[in-house]
Symmetry: C2
DNA sequence: CGCAGTTTTGATTCATCTCAATTTGTGTGG
DNA sequence: CCACACAAATTGAGATGAATCAAAACTGCG
């Protein structure tokens, strides 16, 4: 419906905002993954431009009409759901190269909020057009299915974490996950800056902020990490990992 | 492959063999939703047959190569993930009309186990062929995206439940969810048979089986439900719902 | 009819929450 | 540039909900 309008607009690429997946250094992580040169160029024509989101601003809110998904070009986001009765659950933290907004497909409206945790930039992918192009480029269709499926698998991991792990195990899993994702993006796996507050970490992990803080302190006392506010340095990955799966160690 | 044969067969409904979405009484809940007559017939040719799964048997296991997704024709399933260190998390319970197996798309291998909790029957939907047909039938492509997205939204709901609710709230949410899904399938919303054990409910809800049992007993004492082993009758839906979102009642 | 698996119930322990005080960090305006 | 106010984080003490351990009752199946 909206698509018709955009379809006839020449994809002139506004000031310095040359939006080209084919040139993007995130293409191996993001939607373009696995596409051939020529397919990539067609994908370029699809992208509906970039959008900058300042720290604290919403990319979308629960209830907003769903029109597009977003590829994170730079920055850091959180998504959260809130219920009528005031419960608030952070459902994920997203970083460069990740696709965000797929929750909105099912009802044509977003079902969660996406907030930038630092100044960020996203590429807008109009969904109707993505579906059109998917019909023509099988690799794109398949890769998009993988992206959605990966999201489902990721959510299962979080359910496992929330359903079976104790506070320190959850935090260890969280840190290792962040570390791994930073590594995949070429950043240090050992040293990074948390973009979210203790309360947001707690919400994500099903814990109170005080519990998160205590677990951080404990990890530091044990020499596993060094924490100074939002600055984290991971000192002992093996023992952090050992915290997760202690077949005979953790049960009492 | 199988499809070619059936294409020329008159849609007479041979017992258990002739698989036709167009004739299925679940079509409004399942993959065919929203398709036109003629599209439905093409969907019929896609379905790779039916498969019966006896109670306790696996539909697929974590690690199995991914080839197809499944539409549940009849019966009841659970899906669960287990980690090396022996943790076990039930990630969902699925009933007739629901699509199962999409976790496998991302890695080409299933990432969880699907077990029948009663004698069941599924329709096999070869995934490569589904993608082919999706390219041709836009409505099918779009609906499939909605199905995947719905799964993501559902998972967010579970994360909310696990992350923010107390034991009795979780169980109330669980019962109301089951009730609503039974209603949508034409069964009683008030009276039903649990197919899963207390332990499986507990795993899904992040609780121990004793806690689940105690919560059931408490609900019965309070006149909210009547429980006799696996037989549940919901007596007071309003007050069960009130348990969930007590804006001023639940915090202490 | 007996046995194994499931469920219920009780007593106790423990992890996390809650409440509260203090410290540290951050952004703003004089 | 410093002081102030506010937000975020740390830490402690005590309360509490759910886990654990244990035993008994029930169910259904062979």
């Amino acid at each position: 419906m909206h698509a018709n309008v955009k379809q006839n607009v020449i994809p002139l690429n506004v000031p310095g905002l040359k939006v080209a997946c084919s040139q993007c250094n995130l293409r191996e992580l993001c939607l373009p993954f696995g596409l051939a040169e020529e397919e990539l160029e067609r994908l370029d024509t699809l992208i509906g431009g970039r959008r900058k989101i300042k720290r604290g601003q919403h990319l979308y809110r629960s209830g907003d009409p769903f029109e597009a998904i977003f590829a994170i070009k730079a920055g850091f986001f959180k998504t959260d759901v809130l219920t009528e009765d005031g419960r608030d659950q952070v459902t994920g933290f997203q970083m460069a190269g990740e696709i965000i907004g797929m929750d909105g497909i099912s009802t044509e409206a977003h079902t969660c909020n996406a907030v930038a945790l630092e100044d960020s930039e996203v590429c807008l992918i109009p969904f109707a057009e993505l579906e059109s192009l998917s019909s023509e480029i099988r690799a794109l269709q398949h890769h998009f299915h993988k992206v959605m499926s990966r999201e489902i698998v990721r959510d299962h991991g979080v359910m496992m974490l929330l359903g079976t792990m104790r506070a320190e195990e959850r935090l260890a899993a969280f840190l290792l996950n962040l570390s791994q994702r930073f590594t995949a993006r070429g950043y240090s796996s050992a040293e990074f800056h948390l973009r979210m507050t203790r309360e947001e970490i707690g919400s994500y992990l099903g814990l109170k902020l005080e519990t998160v803080s205590r677990a951080f302190s404990r990890f530091q006392d044990e020499g596993l990490i060094s924490v100074q506010q939002k600055h984290i340095r991971i000192l002992d990955i093996p023992n952090l990992k050992a915290l997760l799966g202690p077949p005979g160690g953790g049960r009492h």
